[in-house]
């Protein structure tokens, strides 16, 4: 029987190999992300008087970077499940006694690589629009903590979506709806304090709002809505709860598909 560490090494190798093998797709993904973001940024820019652009630029830039974490997890893990299923790879992995979960988690390598490259290029676009000061970070360690918590949440969420898509057909656009709502209402785009008062309770209930507040504190020193210590505790609880839920749901889904087979075959 194959040892766990060998299995994990094989999965990591698989995803790096795929990155290299499909390098044009990888570059295409980075370019596509940048272009879509630029369309929306230019659209939103038209609403801001030129005099306020310098003040809003860092918030917009980090909002976009955090959205990219969410979006890439959803698409490169949750969305890729479609490819994984339609190629018959679930059954193939199960037959070799390998759970599809680590294979799907390994897709975070692809997602994070695209996020990193796209974020660097978006930052470059922003320096062109608002000057180099947009890149100044107040506390890099806090930013890192916030991003790690956010990544844990988004990867867990993507796994929950993957588990769901083993049993039901989720159209991709529905995932985008959830992403957009999280971006605007979930406090990724702007600080919770800047949202209209009626929307704030919704934002507080969306897990991503809390690490986003931590990241903004690290970037600009903006005081988090519930205070830094509270936001750190809440974010950690949300991250652990989501990771645990993903684990439980996937375990049950695997048990189900071992008995009944994969349902979602075809275009989703």
């Amino acid at each position: 029987m194959m040892r766990n560490d060998i299995r994990i090494r094989a999965i990591i190798w698989l995803h790096f190999l795929r990155l290299w093998r499909y390098k044009f797709s990888f570059l295409n993904n980075i370019l596509t992300t940048i272009l879509w973001l630029t369309i929306f940024v230019l659209g939103a820019l038209m609403f801001i008087p030129s005099s306020k652009w310098g003040e809003m630029a860092p918030i917009a830039l980090w909002g976009i970077i955090m959205w990219q974490f969410l979006s890439s997890s959803v698409w490169y893990i949750g969305g890729w499940t479609w490819f994984f299923i339609s190629q018959g790879l679930v059954e193939e992995h199960l037959l070799t006694n390998t759970s599809p979960v680590p294979v799907l988690v390994g897709r975070a390598i692809t997602g994070l690589s695209v996020t990193l490259a796209a974020s660097l290029l978006v930052a470059l676009v922003f320096t062109g629009l608002a000057g180099a000061s947009v890149l100044i970070v107040y506390n890099p360690l806090i930013v890192l903590v916030g991003l790690v918590l956010l990544a844990t949440m988004t990867i867990s969420y993507a796994l929950l979506l993957s588990a769901a898509s083993f049993r039901i057909g989720i159209p991709g656009t529905i995932l985008d709806i959830a992403n957009f709502i999280s971006f605007v209402l979930g406090g990724l785009a702007v600080p919770i304090a800047n949202l209209p008062e009626q929307i704030r309770p919704i934002a507080l209930a969306i897990p991503y709002a809390h690490p986003a507040e931590i990241v903004r504190y690290g970037v600009r020193g903006l005081e988090p809505y519930l205070g830094l210590a509270n936001e750190l505790i809440i974010s950690t609880i949300f991250a652990l709860a989501l990771a645990l839920s993903a684990r439980i749901v996937f375990k049950r889904t695997m048990k189900y598909i071992r008995k009944h087979g994969v349902k979602a075959v075809g275009r989703m």
Binding site: T32, T38, I39, G43, F47, P171, T173, G266
Partner: protein, 270 residues
Amino acid sequence: MPSTSIDIIRASVFSTYAWLKNNKWLFFSMLIWPYLMTFLILALGMVYGSLETYRERLGISNPVLYILASSGIVMSSLMIVDVVATSALYHRWLGTLPYLLLTPTKTYKVLILEPVPSAILSSTMSMLAILPGAVFFEGLLGAGKLFLILLVVYLGMLPLIGLSVIIASLTLVLREETNIASFLTPLILLLSGVFYPIQVLPTILQGMSRIFPTLYVVQAAKLTATYTIPEIKALLGLISALIILTLIYNGTASLALGTSERMVKKSGVI
């Protein structure tokens, strides 16, 4: 005996119908998408700034209707390019491409005609979805304007199909996992100035935008959102540009797909 064009289109209509019937969420999402995009731009813009600033910068009378119409155009363009460019790729994923190549019907004929019903349906759906919004803002005149934009979208679809076929040919030859030219859709939309005036782009990009059909479709939408009754002369100018692009792109596409079919038959498709 090779299948006729009517046979291919009829089969594709049935396939599209069955696909949507079995995936009602997808049908629903096609209707909701333009509103979602409008919501995103408006919500983001209004949290960062104000609608008044947007109205002044773009010089349009009804910014919400304009954003709604632009979102409809974005969605229809996206779906046309996606459906046409990825149909060959999808056949390869499913393992049906070798069978297509072995049938007496020319492969390029199948790859061009098969996505047409789906492309027409998705662009119609994207535009019809915003009908309630248009009627809400401008009554029957709004519905009339939307119908006009839909006609321009249909016309804009012809060169877009040609462009998508060129992308499909490239994807087949390069044997990539996904549509490696999918960046072209946001690039085309970026250069068409969907949510902003193209004057904000560098001069070289403004020049490049003239070769993409969506620029003219977006300009038609802007005309309808700017004036109560759009200028016929200006609209005719845009339509002429679309006809010229149709001839250029579809001519190139027929050559590109024939060449990639020969290359794929020579080297294998998997």
